[in-house]
Symmetry: C2
Subunit: 333 residues, 2 copies
């Protein structure tokens, strides 16, 4: 018998979520039952896609339930095991985030071999966000030699990996992010042309300054004005990977609309939305490529870390204010 | 020596073009020179894409030049030939539309074997608009068994062929057009669910009444509110062929914007613009399929015909007022 604290969904947000939508609850945790393991989480992730799960609508991931703990990726340590495959001290990954500790059937957690990386990297560039970048760039946008790549949300968890993979593959990369810290970070990871969108009145003009002949690939994490600028500046046969549109997630209606969609006809553009969970067949290839890039010092992670389960809502809300540089994480113990 | 009349671009339109942008000019036509043929056009086509060529901007087709005859598809008869491959009376196709007669190098015109179809069909369902429908549906939207297909501009030159091909292939087809004559025409060609968009306040609701589970394929000829409705009603992995956006061609700015683009992420949609001239490799397959469908009485053409070269501007302007049922054509002699 031990205790855990968890974050529950208290109410569904209308528009931008606030701290009042969450509730921190202390719960008793029984000893693990037969076939179960008990895990104490050391890290949890907050990701923009979780905003959609706070709504009571059918989507690719089911909605969070009111009064129940939220869910998401986590890394932790087995503290007790009733399954022969696990022993105390084992490092594991699970989707039982948003809580300090939990019991679960052994099959619901995965042993984590870090290959020498810090464990929390598997919630970031070595995990789902990294694979998202890889899938979006290579499969969805069909990156090919000579492509000029424009990335929005470039300093975020996914965007920063997109930029680095594109640089590793020898591309000219234009990255957009907001504010001095993020633009400095983008220069640091080798982005060729850095746009501080908060300092630009006309994003299209900013992209054209960086790429007078236009862009071939656009990796969208933001939507809205960034997507418009990409439509305006795309070369014929440009390919857009639509990964996320964080500018739109808190809309209570259909929002303002993306102008310039007619460009997609005249320029034969392909715009393709994707969800990484439909592309896990690329996981093995990514892990292999990533190992080589890490060993060669070609890719690095940057993290914004909040401390303690009580900070998880604040970490999540910070995503929509652009507070994260690289991956937003919560350190739980 | 003979005479011809031709329509020249007198001024570039700002926004919606008017009759004042065109000029009817009578010209003397010398006898054809060495290697030339002289052709008297019997039919010419007007198509929405020509609006883009009236602007002085680089696009997939070069701009029309001020003070020069406009260009476009035409069918005509050779009246004199200085090339052994042609003789008077031969039926030919060319891009020397918008004029009654012309001299051209023999290589610039193509002999037309009508296979028993009326010659003007090759400006419509047996020509570029028909191939556009075929390419968009089969290659761009990757039509597959069981797809529910939504078509905007469904009573137009391209849309009406899209509807018929989709029906031939056994699909459920939802067609949108404006007004009683067009909706009656759509019922006549076998469209399953006909939407009169002029009578609907909420296009999304109208599509969902026709397809409660959503649509798989959207063939866009219109853009704007139709594209929004398609985004809202698409099933996961829906595929959009962006063929044209006639609602947007006369915009003087970026227009109102398409809301709901964020749906493309969550539903893993693919939106793909295309220009038929990049897909002429499918011409042979289309001609073969079409011959079979025509022989079996499975596909028919509908035409809206204006008389005489002087009516060509009016025919063209009518496209943007939705005046055409099926293919808009001008009969020249």
């Amino acid at each position: 018998m031990t205790t855990s604290r968890e974050i529950r969904l208290k109410s569904r947000p209308v528009g931008t979520p606030t701290a009042a939508n969450f509730e921190l609850v202390k719960v008793d945790l029984a000893d693990p039952g037969p076939g179960q393991v008990q895990v104490r989480n050391t890290w949890m992730t907050v990701d923009p896609y979780m905003r959609g799960r706070m709504n009571d609508v059918k989507s690719y991931a089911p909605p969070f339930q009111l009064g129940e703990a939220m869910q998401g990726g986590a890394v932790g340590e087995v503290t007790a095991s009733n399954d022969p495959a696990f022993k105390a001290g084992d490092l594991v990954q699970s989707f039982f985030g948003w809580r300090e500790a939990f019991n679960a059937p052994a099959v619901a957690v995965q042993k984590l071999d870090t290959h020498g990386l810090p464990p929390q990297a598997f919630l970031g560039f070595a995990g789902m966000p990294g694979l998202t970048a890889y899938v979006g760039l290579l499969r969805i946008a069909e990156l090919k030699e000579g492509d000029v790549v424009f990335v929005s949300g470039a300093a975020g968890a996914v965007g920063s990996v997109v930029c680095q993979i594109a640089k590793i593959k020898g591309h000219t990369v234009i990255g957009s992010a907001g504010g001095a810290a993020k633009t400095a970070f983008l220069k640091d990871i080798g982005v060729d042309h850095v746009i501080d969108y908060k300092a630009e009145k006309d994003l299209t003009a900013a992209v054209l300054r960086a790429a007078p002949d236009g862009i071939d690939v656009y990796f969208d994490n933001v939507g809205g004005a960034h997507l418009e600028a990409a439509l305006m500046t795309a070369k014929p046969f440009g390919r857009f990977a639509l990964c996320g549109m964080i500018s739109q997630y808190n809309n209570t209606d259909l929002g303002e609309g993306v102008r310039g969609m007619v460009m997609a006809v005249g320029k034969s553009l392909t715009l393709r939305g994707f969800i990484v969970s439909n592309h896990t067949d690329m996981q093995a290839a990514y892990v292999k490529d990533l190992a080589g890039w890490v060993a060669a010092g070609k890719i690095k992670s940057h993290e914004t870390v909040k401390q303690g389960i009580e900070a998880a809502p604040e970490a999540f809300l910070g995503l929509f204010k652009g507070e994260n540089l690289g991956k937003m994480l919560v350190k739980l113990s």
